[in-house]
Subunit: 216 residues, 2 copies
């Protein structure tokens, strides 16, 4: 029965091809650009054939998103691995990688964290918790190593994640440099540069009295 296997193989290939076509379309034009008919055309089947592999468009997108988080997680992991365990650098590099990946794959990332999905992501359904687990481990290690103060790691992680994710989404949704109150001084800062500019506040807080240099 190698014929059946070949069939099954081909079927799996078609499914894979659908996913890849959908991913490519999403990466370029976002959700608006993704239509069943376009995906079908690229794969070389009719639009309705997709419904034999995926329940509907939402499910197709969901699968692509899952795969996207996988790549995202791998990207983050690689960034973390470049710095020693327990170091503040490792935590920071996770944030940098978060920004970098999102900015390099904007349309794609928009879909991943699309705000207009009815049902929110369940992090336990995402590989590595959508990066949460990775960051949490790095934070806990840094706490153990004394690089950052000991506290509830989940709150700390949410704090760091919020700051990074917020910077990202704001950068993607707004042009702050067009604000009339915005002084021209910091006009040229890219999201990544802004992220670095946040560093002293993250480390020492915004309260008065912590004017330390911070250098080696």
């Amino acid at each position: 029965m190698p014929v059946k296997e070949a069939e099954a193989r081909r079927a799996a290939d078609v499914e894979q091809a659908i996913l890849e076509a959908a991913r490519d379309i999403l990466a370029v034009g976002g959700l608006d650009a993704l239509s069943m008919r376009l995906v079908a055309e690229r794969v070389g089947v009719s639009a309705t054939a997709i419904y034999h592999y995926f329940e509907n468009k939402d499910q197709l997108v969901r699968r692509v998103v899952e795969y996207g988080f996988q790549r995202f997680g791998a990207y983050l992991e690689e960034a973390a691995a470049r710095h020693p365990k327990g170091s503040l650098e490792r935590v920071r590099s996770l944030g940098e990688a978060y920004l970098q990946f999102a900015l390099e794959n904007q349309s794609y990332f928009r879909v991943l964290f699309s705000l207009h999905h009815g049902d929110p992501h369940r992090l336990d359904e995402l590989p590595d918790g959508g990066g949460y687990g990775l960051l949490r481990r790095a934070v806990e290690e840094a706490m153990d190593a004394g690089a950052i103060r000991r506290a509830n790691p989940d709150v700390m992680v949410m704090y760091l994640w919020s700051m990074t994710h917020g910077l990202l989404t704001i950068s993607m949704a707004c042009r702050i440099d067009s604000c009339p109150e915005f002084s021209a001084d910091s006009l040229e800062l890219s999201p990544l540069e802004l992220f670095h500019a946040f560093d002293p506040y993250v480390r020492e807080g915004i309260s008065d009295g912590g004017e330390e240099g911070g250098g080696p």
Copy 2:
């Protein structure tokens, strides 16, 4: 020519009615629920009549968003006014109001900060810079009063805004409590409670060595 005036008046009323109908639909069902035909039906005109007042659907949404930011700005202003100028409380209450408004008007807010818009918001086109100006003033006053350390206000504002906005968007897009690495301890924290839990980090930083209690 009271007739013409009455006509113009009525025309303005229709335009207003369209905007209000669109706003209501967006507030309940988000962008997906908004269709020209539905808006038209509610107003009592044909769908194509809308095109005499708005170039297309995008422009209609844009106008609703503009109005939304106006309400948003007013909400923030009110929150700020409840605390003395130059106080850290004023800055914090802006963040709280930001969260509160967004959580109470989720569908609406999703549209305001929708990630899948082609062109980003220009803050100078939004009333009060989308709240930027408000926060910036509060931060500068707090710097002058010595409540927070003196630094580039734009960077500081972006830092605070990012943290708040990120917390919000993550809360709306993910269920963190479903993460396998998430410890059950902080499971019950609402976005607003999390915001308050961030307070010590924002004020004193995450570095080790700043274990102060935090005053009365």
